[in-house]
């Protein structure tokens, strides 16, 4: 459903992504792992349209979206929970969730999606009046994912959802990712927590300095000794 062809991205003179190609099929969880600065976030931002590639093309659901504005991509069904969560600190939890459905035309279904989010994250329902900025790290992460779901995306981009979370939350987040996927949303997941990310993914890519060096199913990569050494740590 999503396909990147020969994408390159530059920050000024610095090339962050070079000639990268991969695709995500409908219904999959695809994980992207790699060291710091490998270009994972850059890839995500390129897909969501915050960055524009200097070369290559992106197609989504059969349409070329390479030059499409970011806010239109949201309407088309790409939704991102950004790195660092991007909660609107001065808005309440409810308003933050509302922002998720900003671009939606099918207003009537918004209620259903809200229910679904509250089902996934009961904590959010308890706190609908709290300002986003005063939520703790884990709660903000829930809010960010919940908000992304509010646009009823076809493709959900999650950039390091486990960052800064306590262990039991991390497990919860990964469970939820699977759950969301089971409900029919395609997920592209960027993670440092490579073990979890690979274990949950249908397919995965390893990114090194802006290009993909390994690809395969999650299980394959988990077993790959090179990947193991570089990203999974010994023991």
């Amino acid at each position: 459903m999503l396909e990147l062809k020969n994408i390159s991205v530059h920050y000024g003179r610095i090339q962050a992504i070079s000639d990268m190609s991969f695709s995500v099929e409908e219904g999959e969880i695809v994980s992207l792992i790699g060291a710091n600065g490998a270009g994972k976030t850059t890839t995500m931002r390129t897909i969501s349209g915050l960055l524009s590639p200097s070369a290559g093309s992106i197609t989504f659901a059969g349409k070329d979206i390479t030059r499409m504005k970011a806010h239109i991509r949201v309407v088309r069904g790409i939704s991102q929970a950004p790195e660092g969560r991007g909660i609107f600190p001065g808005m309440t939890v409810m308003e933050n969730l509302d922002m998720g459905s900003y671009g939606r035309k099918d207003r009537t279904k918004v209620g259903d999606d809200l229910e679904r989010v509250f089902d996934l994250f009961p904590r959010l329902k308890e706190r609908i009046k709290q300002l986003g900025g005063t939520m703790s790290g884990g709660e903000q992460q829930m809010l960010a994912i919940g908000r992304a779901l509010m646009s009823n995306p076809k493709l959900l981009l999650l950039d390091e959802p486990s960052m800064g979370l306590a262990p039991q939350f991390i497990r919860q987040i990964f469970k939820i990712v699977t759950e969301i996927n089971n409900q029919g949303t395609t997920v592209l997941l960027v993670e440092q927590n490579a073990n979890q990310a690979l274990a949950r993914a249908h397919r995965a890519f390893v990114l090194e300095t802006g290009s993909i060096t390994h690809r395969g199913t999650g299980k394959e990569l988990l077993a790959n000794p090179a990947v193991k050494e570089a990203y999974l740590g010994v023991g």
Binding site: L50, V75, F88, M91
Partner: protein
């Protein structure tokens, strides 16, 4: 030598009452007239202040060209009135004719100001945004555009203010302790407050308003929510322009001879001060700040003996308030205002 210099310096600030008084009598005598005049001007400041506050809230930038957005509105009013054949003297017109003319002038002023605001955004801000320029660069282009607009008007209309055109002679409405409050003052203050409330509600309740607040808090994430950032920014400038246009009408009503190429500058500075006093980025703060700046200045000048004190008093109070409340009276941030 120093021993001579110090007394000399001290002496240079003579404390006789020729230049500063503390005239409580005059203050009491002129209290109500200063209050009503202060409120009227305050309302105008507040409307202009909103333009600063909105743009500041969304872009975190002081829009130094906003005073020109305002003055272009004033020209809009002026040209409308000349086209309607108004002269320096106020004709006797029926009530509805006055209202009709007012609305017409208002519409033209709003269109002129809003257009100007969009032009300012396009020329001074958008190119820099695209180039990801540092913040101070925006300040300078805004100043540049402001100069350019002023002197374009200058080149076109000359250095002198435009002829004073008046639509109606204010009617006394009621009398407060011997001070007459006229229709003009009442219209200005009420209209300004209505506009403020409308803006406030718009920002809080409407979808666009939510978009504005989102862009104010985190532009990138807002984009990820499907908010068209560029459109929101332009919209914000337009809203600022609309309010400036309204302010322009009221200003011309109050000071018909104030339509001049550089007529917006000082007013702009005071409106900006008002925005900061109330808490920049805060819609309600702009209203509060505007009214306060208007009142304080007027009280100050009657108390201290001459109109020269108006701005001094206003700024001193501003500084004092900020020392106590560093984020202005109501605190900053467009985003913060709870719905």
């Amino acid at each position: 030598m120093i021993s001579e210099v110090i007394p000399a310096l001290l002496h240079s600030v003579p404390m006789d009452d020729t230049w500063i008084t503390f005239d409580v009598n005059s203050f009491a005598q002129n209290f109500w007239s200063s209050t009503f005049d202060g409120l009227t001007f305050g309302a105008i400041y507040a409307l202009v202040a909103l333009g600063y506050t909105l743009v500041y809230g969304v872009l975190n930038l002081i829009n130094f060209a906003h005073s020109e957005v305002f003055i272009v509105g004033c020209y809009g009013v002026f040209f409308t009135l000349s086209a309607l054949n108004f002269g320096p003297s106020a004709p006797r017109l029926a009530f509805w004719a006055i209202v009709g003319n007012l609305v017409l002038a208002l519409v033209v002023a709003i269109i002129a100001s809003a257009l100007m605001a969009v032009i300012v955004e396009r020329v001074a801000y958008k190119p820099l945004r695209q180039r990801k320029a540092p913040r101070l660069a925006f300040l300078i282009t805004a100043i540049g555009v402001s100069f350019a607009i002023q002197y374009t008007i200058y080149w076109w209309r000359g250095p002198s203010p435009e002829a004073a055109l008046t639509m109606f002679r204010p009617l006394p409405i009621f009398d407060v302790f011997g001070t007459i409050v006229d229709s003009q003052q009442v219209v200005i203050v009420i209209a300004a407050i209505i506009l403020m409330i409308a803006t406030d509600q718009f920002i809080r309740r409407s979808r666009t308003g939510r978009g504005i607040r989102a862009v104010a808090q985190d532009p990138d994430t807002a984009t990820l929510m499907g908010v068209n950032k560029e459109k929101i920014i332009v919209t914000t400038f337009i809203i600022g322009g609309i309010l400036a246009g309204a302010a322009a009408l009221f200003y011309v009503m109050k000071i018909p001879s104030g339509v001049q190429y550089n007529g917006g500058f000082i007013l702009g500075v005071k409106a900006f001060a008002a925005a900061v006093l109330g808490g920049i980025g805060n819609v309600r703060g702009a209203l509060l700040g505007g009214l306060l700046i208007g009142l304080i200045g007027n009280y100050g000048q009657v108390l201290l003996g001459s109109s020269q004190w108006t701005d001094v008093v206003a700024f001193v109070v501003l500084v004092l308030v900020l020392i106590v409340r560093p984020e202005g009276i109501l605190g900053s941030s467009l985003g913060k205002s709870k719905a």
